[in-house]
Point group: C2
Chain length 233, copies 2
């Protein structure tokens, strides 16, 4: 198919497709003349994945390019997993964490020590370059610096339990896939989109929990008993 047809098939405008090509988010089509190329089903699939990573996963173009680059290479599954793990929609936090890693060995922060202790207590055995370690430690240190009192052990433990539940489900999904190329796509999409799913569900559960804990002011409309009847969200 031609680029205009790829655009129709994916719902992505031609200038955006050209941008994807330029940024190496999309592999080139097969050239049929100096200014025309043919695209196939692999391009449709890739455009959908790129949109999902950018728009729903919230990745930057550079992060998405790294994820699709890992899919195109012949990297083993565990490496694709690592690249997808490092693609988080919170670039600055990770970037600064990386900077620190190149410095001369600094003393561990209180957050790093707590996360290391948490790994110990939950039996989480990971490599020291796991991207979640600095990310989680940074949150603890930042929270403490805000002078809001620290995140309690009970709260941290609940978050860790939640992470375990989700990680077990994530890995079970990956293991259920037969084919290796599908498996790597599942890892890439699932790791990135899972963050968004969790952020969304957390917001629903928070509001539901807040109505349980804090009574509504008199006369305030009650939250919907059933969203199935009123699909106006």
């Amino acid at each position: 198919m031609r680029m205009s047809e790829l655009s129709t098939a994916t719902g992505v405008a031609v200038p955006t497709l050209k941008f994807y090509l330029r940024e190496q988010l999309l592999h080139a089509g097969e050239r049929t003349s100096p200014n025309q190329a043919q695209y196939d089903a692999s391009h449709v699939e890739r455009v959908r994945l790129v949109r999902a990573l950018l728009e729903v996963g919230g990745l930057s173009v550079a992060q998405a390019a790294r994820v699709v680059g890992a899919l195109d290479s012949d990297l083993p599954l565990s490496s694709v997993f690592g690249v997808a793990q490092r693609a988080v929609s919170i670039p600055a936090a990770l970037a600064s964490a990386d900077d620190e890693a190149t410095d001369a060995e600094p003393a561990p922060t209180a957050g790093q020590t707590r996360i290391a202790a948490l790994c110990e207590s939950r039996g989480w055995r990971v490599y020291p370059n796991n991207p979640g370690l600095p990310l989680a430690a940074r949150v603890l240190d930042t929270y403490a610096a805000l002078g809001l009192g620290h995140i309690s052990d009970t709260v941290l433990d609940r978050y860790a339990q939640a992470a375990d539940l989700v990680a077990a489900a994530d890995l079970a999904s990956v293991a259920a896939v037969d084919e290796l190329t599908e498996m790597t796509r599942t890892v890439a999409a699932g790791t990135v989109l899972g963050d968004t799913l969790l952020a969304g569900l957390r917001r629903i559960a928070q509001e539901a929990e807040s109505f349980r804990r804090f009574p509504l002011p008199d006369g305030a409309p009650a939250p919907g008993t059933s969203l199935l009847d009123e699909q106006d969200c």
Copy 2:
């Protein structure tokens, strides 16, 4: 204190502080001469919060401005909570969801129907404008469109359990705070930073779980048994 002292106290460069002022992320100091102003402890506190929202929470400047705007207004706690809930580091997904809401009533997508059913089955009573509803629904629809098979009910239910665990801990933290201004700051920081904490812990738990499920290739170095001994991450 003067701006240079505010810079020293917070570790944020003067040009960045000026940017914060211009973007209304930081309230103005008290003017003492045409080109000098005095800042106080409230400015130090605010600069730390803004940095946390931008760098660790991954919010855009516009989102962070909305969160601090809610803190400065006399909004009730539940409204501050709503604003913080809407500030998610995945702008495009929410923006498109908002666009859809202004259209003529579209038929609910498969994702929206599943999320509504999930709310029903978990007893989550929320207003139809909860920002998590379109966010979670969008992930389900996107995943299905990728042709990767859909997210199973079992997986979705694990994510929902995880969200419940975390939301209960979140609300318990807020309820433990005595003072109202502290409470609103806790809500704002906790809602945004909690996403990052969860994303970080999920990455640690995923790697730990992957080593349990998939054996390492022969000769590969084993993951650390204790991170407490080797703080080189």
